[in-house]
């Protein structure tokens, strides 16, 4: 299909597939003993996560996913029930203590993961799709289309993310839906920029030109020939972005612009804890949750970049060494 592909689309994204020996991004098999049972297990774990940090990230994320999925079974109490004494310290009946209204902090933290995680993933997927499509259009067609789309992107870039998200959320009114819209509107331009530059490079490649000479339409050229070159960096960016989406959502909730009470939310819990320094557990544990989950996504993102986007990894390695 491709003639002289300058940048091979990665072929190792398929978990379970045998490692491609010639792939520059592949760290190569570590030379495990040939016990077939162990080998199968190792291969099933996505190759791109087979770095120490990637592994740690994946484990933390897996724990969080399990906690979120089974939250109703794990949470010991109703997260909304104000049935305990106020500001009880961790230990005893409430393992992570209670908040100012006498609600169980542990139950609230667990249940909060059920709103935060899906919302963050959803908002990142949406902004990745929106940003990539707009970026691809801008990069492929160029000229006025490019100017219009990218100037809008610049406009968004001109503001600090959280400030613009705050303004949008404040204008739309508080609520999870509006917070998602706000984050979506501020986070698409980074995808548009990355996609645009990749598309602009690929657009002039010989194999794309050849395809056009064969009569491929713009859509076909973009989806069949250019897209595979764009997907990896966008996936890496998206994984790294989930962490910042969680942070932005927590920030909006902290400012009472996110999830509407009484639905538990990490950001709102931290905001409550700020005025209760002595009751450190109110803010500390939700903060720890945000820290671990953001860290997990960053580790996974880094590992994915190392495998899927070896060029960037190399550049990063060169500049840091």
């Amino acid at each position: 299909m491709s003639i002289g592909t300058p940048k091979q689309p990665p072929t190792n994204t398929n978990p379970g597939a045998e490692a491609v020996p010639g792939n520059p991004g592949s760290p190569g098999n570590p030379g495990n003993p040939v016990d077939p049972g162990v080998r199968r297990w190792t291969i099933r774990f996505p190759k791109s996560l087979r770095t120490p940090l990637g592994f740690v990230g994946a484990v933390i994320l897996a724990v969080w996913l399990l906690l979120a999925i089974f939250a109703p079974l794990i949470a010991p109490f109703d997260p909304l029930a104000q049935s305990f004494s106020r500001l009880a310290p961790p230990g005893g009946e409430n393992i992570l203590g209670t908040d100012t209204l006498g609600r169980d902090v542990f139950s609230r933290i667990i249940v909060s993961a059920r709103t935060t995680l899906p919302a963050a993933v959803f908002v990142v997927i949406c902004s990745a799709v929106l940003g990539s499509v707009l970026g691809a259009i801008a990069g492929y067609f160029g000229k006025a289309v490019d100017e219009i789309i990218m100037r809008i992107a610049d406009l968004v870039f001109a503001f600090p993310t959280i400030i613009l998200a705050m303004v949008i959320a404040a204008a739309l009114g508080p609520g999870l839906k509006n917070a998602i819209i706000a984050i979506l509107l501020v986070s698409w331009p980074s995808y548009a920029r990355v996609t645009r530059s990749l598309v602009m490079t690929a657009r002039n490649s010989e194999y794309v030109i050849a395809g056009r000479l064969l009569g491929f339409s713009a859509g076909k050229s973009l989806t069949r020939e250019i897209a595979p070159n764009v997907v990896s960096p966008v996936v890496v960016l998206a994984t790294l972005d989930v962490g910042s989406a969680i942070l932005t959502m927590a920030g909006l909730s902290f400012l009472s612009l996110g999830v509407v009470p009484p639905t538990p939310d990490w950001g709102a819990m931290i905001s409550e804890g700020v005025s209760q320094f002595a009751a450190w557990w109110i803010a500390f544990f939700p903060g720890l949750c945000i820290l671990t989950i953001v860290m997990a996504f960053n580790f996974i993102g880094d590992s994915l970049r190392d495998t899927l986007d070896p060029h960037t990894a190399q550049e990063v390695g060169e500049t840091t060494s």
């Binding site: 500001l87 209204l101 508080p174 009470p261 005025s275 002595a278």
Partner: protein, 523 residues
């Protein structure tokens, strides 16, 4: 080897720098911590001006209380009894005329000029003429100098609230001669605000040293004050958040913290600070809209009374902190005309159930509005709303919380568009007539579309209270406000508590509901 030497140098220089910084900050601590005759007080500023006739905010009033004297005062903070200040007073002509006689003839402004009747007249007229936020205090009052010792205040209608209004710090007496020299007038052309922000012209125990509305205001003792000289010659009022106030009080960097909530105050060890709880002059209540187009359920009296009996008031008291009080009406318990708090409703879920059935409420969600960023004397409105929602849910009433920043929430409330929510009212002056705005047709009642002719019975009681004699006034108002509560349009929730935390280096102090913490009497 060389690397080791380099590391040693780095460590030594870091240590030296740290020690140096520690030494410097130690020096600052002593100064900031109010060693000797300096007192550091901290509050989160709400401050735009300290021109007495323009200011209408908490911080401005705290400062002006220390800088300006007023014609009348509340002795020892008893808000039910106005007493003589710079002047003595007498009401006559059916409360239409007030005669003020200059009493403190030895009172002097900070530049040494004596306080005269002309200064008092100028101050009253300037307050009226500026058409600023506090100008309404003397609306409809005609100010006239009779002689060098006497002033006459004539009102068109009986004005029994006037003695309760005059002690307000917004009616502070300024040096008319100097203010006039600095473009001060008694109309809207006045340009003396900037001058008064930087140069106080009062006769109180303190005068302005520096004024920075963003960070701090410094006061120094007024050498010409005619009362006992204050022990603290310098007051530094700093703008810091409640969280910082907590750490500053604990570390001894500040002596007075105004904004700690009850939980924060209780977290401080008794060996570090003393806590004073003053009844707040603010009321927290639930409002219900009376317009069918806004909500067809809050207009139903059975539903409103069901809400009234569904609230767990004891829990709300607990949330509001030690010293918070129940309210049976909207008027704070310490004021004349307050409904005795033992008449306040109690939680009764059986009654709620019965009333809900009668009202035809079918479990629909009712939007419940509140300011998510507002805290009233340590009561966080967001937490209060969440508590109310949980309590009403137990009774089968479903609220959909609608938090918004206070500016947005107030806009909606003023437009009369909110079916239900939390409202707050801070007294402008400690008199029941200040709460007339809640009577049908009043300016706050308009916000829930409660029209003037909606309840002839209450209107009649309000008119009777307005005309009542001085000794029967309190009872008449209490009766009226009780009937107001019985409609459930306003459901009084709690009278919060004003907690002031004072560091133990201050051995003696006076704080009361009128002047709050009194700088001049602290020792």
């Amino acid at each position: 080897m060389r690397r080791l030497a380099r590391a040693t140098v780095a460590i030594c220089s870091t240590l030296a720098l740290t020690l140096g910084l520690a030494a410097c900050s130690g020096g600052d601590d002593d100064q900031a911590g109010g060693a000797g005759d300096t007192l550091v007080a901290e509050t989160a500023f709400s401050l735009t001006t300290i021109d007495p006739h323009r200011q209408f905010e908490f911080t401005g009033s705290t400062i002006d209380n220390a800088v300006y004297q007023t014609a009348l005062e509340f002795e020892d903070g008893d808000l039910t009894k106005p007493t003589d200040g710079l002047c003595s007073f007498e009401m006559s002509d059916g409360d239409k005329t007030m005669t003020l006689k200059l009493k403190q003839k030895d009172a002097k402004f900070s530049n040494g000029d004596p306080v005269t009747v002309d200064d008092i007249v100028f101050s009253f007229e300037r307050l009226q003429g500026l058409k600023g936020n506090p100008s309404f205090f003397l609306d409809g009052v005609d100010v006239k100098k009779v002689d060098d010792e006497t002033i006459e205040l004539k009102s068109e209608k009986p004005n029994p609230a006037l003695p309760y209004i005059l002690p307000n710090s917004s009616i502070g007496i300024v040096n008319s001669k100097v203010v006039k020299e600095n473009k001060g007038t008694t109309d809207e052309k006045d340009e003396a605000e900037q001058f008064l922000n930087e140069n106080s012209q009062g006769s109180g125990p303190y005068q302005i040293d520096t004024y920075d509305p963003d960070s701090q205001v410094v006061l120094t003792a007024n050498e010409n004050y005619n009362g006992p000289a204050p022990k603290y010659k310098r007051i530094v009022l700093r703008n810091v958040s409640a969280e910082t106030q907590l750490t500053d009080i604990q570390s001894g960097q500040a002596q007075v913290a105004y904004d700690l909530n009850s939980d924060q105050a209780n977290s401080i060890d008794d060996s570090m600070a003393q806590k004073t709880s003053l009844p707040s002059t603010r009321s927290l209540y639930i409002f219900n809209n009376m317009d069918d187009k806004v909500s067809d359920i809050t207009t139903n009296e059975d539903f409103r009374m069901a809400v009234t009996s569904a609230i767990d008031y004891e829990k709300i008291l607990e949330l509001s902190g030690d010293g918070a009080q129940r309210m049976a009406g909207l008027v704070p318990n310490e004021f004349n005309g307050a409904v005795p708090k033992d008449q306040a409703p109690e939680r009764d879920l059986d009654k709620t159930k019965e009333l809900l059935e009668k009202s035809g409420y079918d479990g629909e969600e009712i939007p419940f509005h509140y300011s998510s960023d507002q805290s009233v004397n340590g009561v966080d409105l967001a937490q209060l709303a969440e508590t109310l929602q949980a309590q009403l849910k137990e009774a089968g009433i479903n609220l959909a919380l609608k938090p918004a920043p206070s500016a947005t929430q107030l806009d909606g409330f003023r437009a009369g568009e909110q079916p239900m929510g939390i409202g707050t009212w801070g007294a402008d002056f400690p008199d029941p007539s200040n709460y007339n705005v809640f009577v049908p047709g009043g300016s706050v009642a308009d916000r829930v579309n409660w029209d003037k002719d909606a309840s002839p019975e209450i209107t009649k009681l309000a008119e009777a209270a307005e005309k009542a004699d001085e000794d029967k006034r309190g009872d008449a108002y209490a009766k009226m406000y009780k009937s107001l509560s019985d409609t459930g349009v306003w459901i009084p929730l709690v009278q919060p508590v004003d907690t002031i935390v004072v560091g133990n280096s201050v051995k003696k102090y006076v704080s009361n509901a009128d002047t709050s913490f009194d700088f001049a009497q602290a020792e």
